[in-house]
């Protein structure tokens, strides 16, 4: 067994009197696609946010490439997210004032890449995801499916080690949902990136190599499929 790329051990996290995580542990191997499956309120999004260094657990630890990240400060975790992680959310994650090309180029621009090469790379990704035609449009001028493919391009443009996707198909019909999952996972696998996807839909979870099921902040199953 190779060392996990990402691991969470015995995470606990409460928001006021509401317990979101109650001892959740999970590992993600390099190149693995893992689904966090569970109904609303089961703790799946909270676990994803802890794995991605967005939230810090009350107890337990999160490690990336063997290094503990949950005890790092906001700035260090922010740098880690920018350099190593990509994100796709259900909706509303694109900047409404920017075009598709500018949205996809944004992570590169924030990392210090000049405008022209950043936008050139963005266009390659938009073409790859079959949405080159909306490159000049703003999010409000695109369909939901196009917007999510632009979001996938933005998540992958910086060659992340892990892509975190929180209900990436939640606002799409099944046909567009299938297309987004196929393109997200196809591109991620080609780059060797791991993917952690939160979903309550079994059809989306079936794209993953493995699923863990959460209920009330705890894991109920951890199925490994060869």
């Amino acid at each position: 067994m190779t060392e996990p790329l990402l691991s969470a051990t015995d995470l606990h996290l409460s928001f006021g009197t509401t317990t979101a995580l109650a001892g959740a542990s999970v590992t993600v191997q390099p190149g693995e696609v893992l689904a966090l499956l569970g109904p609303s309120g089961s703790g799946t999004s909270t676990l994803l946010h802890c794995l991605a260094g967005i939230l810090r657990p009350d107890a337990g630890e999160v490690r990336f490439c063997g290094t503990r990240i949950d005890d790092q400060g906001d700035e260090a975790r922010s740098r880690l997210r920018a350099s190593s992680f990509g994100f796709v959310f259900q909706f509303g994650s694109l900047v409404p004032e920017l075009s598709a090309v500018e949205n996809v180029a944004l992570p590169l621009r924030l990392a210090g890449v000049k405008r022209r090469p950043a936008e050139d790379r963005a266009r390659v990704w938009l073409d790859r995801l079959d949405v080159a035609g909306v490159g000049g449009k703003r999010p409000g001028q695109m369909s939901g499916g196009q917007g999510q493919r632009v979001a996938v391009a933005r998540a992958l443009v910086g060659n992340p080690r892990v892509v975190f996707a929180d209900e990436p198909t939640g606002a799409l019909d099944t046909l567009n949902g299938d297309l987004v999952m196929e393109e997200l996972l196809g591109a991620a696998r080609e780059q060797g990136a791991s993917v952690v996807v939160v979903t309550h839909e079994a059809r989306v979870a079936a794209y993953a190599d493995r699923e863990v099921v959460l209920r009330d902040g705890r894991l109920t199953a951890d199925a490994v499929v060869a």
């Binding site: 079994a202 059809r203 079936a206 099921v213 199953a221 499929v225």
Partner: protein, 173 residues
Amino acid sequence: MSFPQTLLGLLESAPRHGYDLKREYDARFGQQRPVKSAQVYSTLSRLHRDGAVTVVGVERVDGPDRTTYALTADGVTHLERWLAEPEEATPYLQSAVYTKVVLALLSGRPAAHILDTQRTAHLTVMRTLTERKRSADLPTTLACDFSLFHLEADLRWLEHTAARLDRLAKELS
């Protein structure tokens, strides 16, 4: 089919004769399709022959003899093995899984495990179908989608039921 195992599950709480078993089966699982008495008696005979049940009494009350059957240790083993195994993940299996959940709750066994095991079995098949779609032509893709949507509907029922197990246990008791 799961009818013999269902009879074993109904016999676990106390010995009964065939007529009692038919009445309880119809009340719990056969509202739409009551079981025929002949099927109950022939199934009990086979279970007796196979050692899963034993005869503990014969009584006559204004009519034919009534044979009372009880579960044997082999019968309990057989029942537990059946409860622990997931059903083959095919569409329309709700009633088989529902039967297992009810019998588990009636006997104080952990029903959540039945749902978890079934979810894993379903997702394994769904993963295979999804993988097959990756390099498939459209007719094959749509055939896979047909199965995927039906399996997903089963899984939605599993999650729906998993969230209501405590209440179901109370209402069954």
